[in-house]
């Protein structure tokens, strides 16, 4: 088998699931004839037709709301946000209608909302967002954010089969930059399970999405230069969180660094810190530290973007501080 990019892995998942289940369909802006702003859905309309690959008007609330209505009736809609930043205009219907449907009305609402997320690409404040913190707080939603091509495929297939609404964030920096040979067959990555991306004994980095790769780079560097052994936990699923894996790595290394690309205040690191605190306080030999973006809309100019986003060197600084603690 040949190597497949992160982006191609997503596309494979869409083809396989549309093949498998007639109820799966896609909707979004420019996903059909054009194949999507990043060409993720290229070829889909040619194969499945305009009824199952719907080019919609520019109206994210309608896309998400219509998906919910179809999902109630047994369909399995997959919505694309052209950039995940535009999910904000569907925030109401997603948090109030979709997320609550099962609980308040016993209405199933199996659907996926996916879209290109994240920075490091000079996209400026409205084409670089990481939306997880806005939804972490909503009971009823699930969220996944793969870091590898294999998980990109496996998580999307699982998300489409999930009985609830899954927000599927795909990191646009990774789209064409990483490649791997994918497992064959009906490859599913379980929702709710983190992955140890690197084993280590001295410090744990908990992270996800693009910063998994930054964390791995930093881990290598401090291993080589300082002889410190770093474990990297790739969360993969952000909601519901894999408490077992989080607590497991903390109990192993006793030192924790949480890294996320998203802004700092109100970011997901806070929740992780609280959970560790409650479940493994006794095991902590040092404060839990965070490396995150600075608290600003992501600026566009390269020196500014580089300065605001977390970089490998920042993780190295933080690991050294933790090691020295």
């Amino acid at each position: 088998m040949s190597e497949v990019t992160y982006l191609e892995a997503i596309r494979e998942a869409l083809f396989e699931e549309m093949d498998r289940d007639q109820n799966v369909f896609c909707l979004g802006e420019d996903i059909g004839a054009y194949g999507g702003a990043f060409k993720v859905t290229e070829g889909l309309m040619a194969k499945y037709g305009a009824e199952r690959v719907i080019d919609t008007p520019i109206s994210e609330a309608a896309i998400i709301g219509a998906a919910a209505g179809a999902a109630h009736m047994g369909m399995r809609p997959v919505c694309e946000m052209q950039f995940i930043d535009f999910i904000s205009t569907g925030y109401d219907i997603l948090t109030n209608y979709v997320a609550t449907a099962r609980y308040r009305a016993m209405l199933p609402c199996p659907m996926v909302v996916r879209g290109p997320s994240g920075g490091y690409v000079r996209g400026g404040p409205f084409h670089s967002q990481n939306p997880e913190a806005a939804f972490l707080h909503t009971p009823g939603l699930k969220m996944v954010y793969p870091a590898t091509a294999s998980d990109a495929k496996g998580l999307l297939k699982s998300a489409i089969r999930d009985e609830d609404c899954v927000l599927y964030f795909e990191h646009k920096y990774l789209y064409r930059r990483i490649k791997e040979e994918l497992p064959g067959g009906d490859h599913l990555t379980p929702i709710g399970k983190a992955r140890v991306a690197r084993e280590g004994n001295d410090i744990s980095i908990i992270t996800y999405a693009a910063t998994v790769w930054k964390a791995l780079e930093a881990a290598e560097q401090v291993e080589k230069e300082d002889g410190v052994s770093v474990e990297v936990l790739d969360l993969r699923t952000l909601l519901p969180m894999d408490d077992e894996a989080i607590v497991g790595t903390v109990k192993k290394t006793n030192r924790v660094l949480i890294v996320h690309e998203d802004t700092r205040t109100g970011g997901i690191a806070g929740e992780i810190t609280a959970r560790i605190n409650e479940s493994a306080f006794e095991w902590l030999d040092a404060p839990i530290l965070r490396v995150t973006a600075a608290d600003v809309p992501l600026p566009y100019s390269p020196p500014l973007e580089d300065y605001v986003l977390p970089q490998t060197s920042d993780i190295v600084v933080a690991l050294r501080r933790l090691a020295a603690y």
């Binding site: 009824e51 219509a66 209505g69 179809a70 308040r104 209405l107 009823g140």
Partner: protein, 373 residues
């Protein structure tokens, strides 16, 4: 996407009073039954509200029963048509099969109410009977029903959807996005704007500068019709035409039903903002039930037929009330069930383990507690 722009027509004037030609004698009585049931059930709820047995607010549709009942009656339940009601569509839900006992249990927040005490008043649904519960956020049901009816189209089912919005809700972005989406997709959807003159305290003139709400139809490229919402037959007929159009592949229709909200937004609202005499005028001259009774008697119906329906309604409501009053409040721990299909329940938070109801056991109701609302 194949789409004929010919479907878009200029909005018409008020549809003339209905002829009820295609309705049988039994059906015409059934319309009366549902309107009467709506009104009497709400009156019973007012009693329960005054006895503080209703939890939270009470919302009336007094004077709007024809609009709710007549429009829902145009759907075909045997075909699996689906509607999404608003707060003033109790009548529509009854037509679609909702039961008085369910309604009363909802209002009393009972544990065996359709939402098990999770949601308010008539915010509930049932896919089997064909209605989908609204949420409070106005407009959101329009995209949802666009999706419901999109699925009918995709699966080539012979089903139609109907969604209600108030005059006020036409200002929301969700209404706009949803009807536009459905129009482009030619979903088999009927959108009914119930123009009852007010959104809470806001008169139509502060809601829109349009002369009539049906004027919005052309901007979406859908058929627009306007009818007298206090004439149950006219309401039925205009909706039936739209339902037939939708079922025939003709896409979306926007119907403006002219009616009037005679009660406040909810029971607590004293309607101080309504010009003097306006409510009395509507009550005296344009009550939908009075009008329909007159019409039925002018046709070939007997007073005794109507009286026996009234008696049946009262009996049904009495039975329903007894059942609802006797039914239990929810078990607190039910609150943790069903956020996701998997896992099906949350565990209690650590500080709640072993505590059945925190309030019952530990709270001090006399001081700053949670008991008086």
């Amino acid at each position: 996407m194949a789409r004929s722009t010919a479907a878009a027509s200029k909005p018409t004037k008020l549809t003339p009073a209905g002829q009820s030609g295609d309705l049988s004698r039994a059906q015409r009585l059934e319309l009366y039954y549902y309107m009467r049931l709506t009104r009497s059930l709400e009156e019973r709820l007012v009693n329960l509200y005054r006895q503080t047995k209703v939890v939270g607010g009470l919302f009336r549709s007094l004077g709007q029963e024809a609009d709710a009942v007549g429009s829902a009656y145009a759907l075909d339940r045997s075909k699996g048509d689906v509607l999404s009601p608003l707060i003033r569509n109790l009548g529509s839900m009854l037509v679609q099969g909702a039961k008085p006992t369910e309604i009363i249990k909802q209002y009393m927040a009972k544990g065996d109410s359709p939402t098990r005490g999770r949601e308010l008043n008539i915010h509930y649904g049932d896919l089997v009977r064909g209605f989908i519960g609204q949420i409070s956020h106005l407009g959101d049901m329009v995209p949802v029903m666009a999706g419901v009816t999109l699925s009918f189209k995709m699966r080539k089912q012979d089903r139609v959807g109907l969604v209600y919005v108030g005059d006020g809700a036409t200002s929301t972005g969700a209404f706009h996005e949803g009807i536009n989406f459905a129009a482009v997709q030619r979903c088999p959807l009927v959108v009914i704007v119930e123009n009852n003159g007010y959104a809470y305290s806001t008169p139509l003139s502060n809601q829109t500068a349009a002369r009539q709400l049906v004027d919005k139809a052309i901007g979406y490229g859908v058929v627009g019709e306007r009818a007298d919402g206090n004439d149950v037959i006219a309401t039925y007929e205009v909706t039936k035409r739209a339902v037939d159009r939708a079922r025939g592949g003709g896409g979306v229709t926007l119907i403006e039903l002219m009616t009037y909200r005679r009660k406040g937004h909810a029971e607590h609202d004293n309607q101080s903002y309504v010009p003097a005499g306006e409510i009395d005028r509507w009550a005296a001259e344009n009550d939908p039930i009075d009008r329909y009774i007159k019409r039925l008697l002018d046709e070939d119906f007997e007073e005794s037929e109507l009286a026996s329906i009234d008696a049946r309604v009262t009996e049904e409501i009495d039975i329903a009330t007894d059942e609802a009053e006797a039914s239990p409040m929810p078990d607190p721990r039910d609150a943790l069930i069903g956020i996701y299909a998997d896992p099906p329940a949350l565990s209690p938070l650590w500080f709640r383990e072993g505590i059945k109801s925190a309030v019952d056991v530990h709270e001090r109701p006399s001081s700053w507690g949670t008991h008086d609302v």
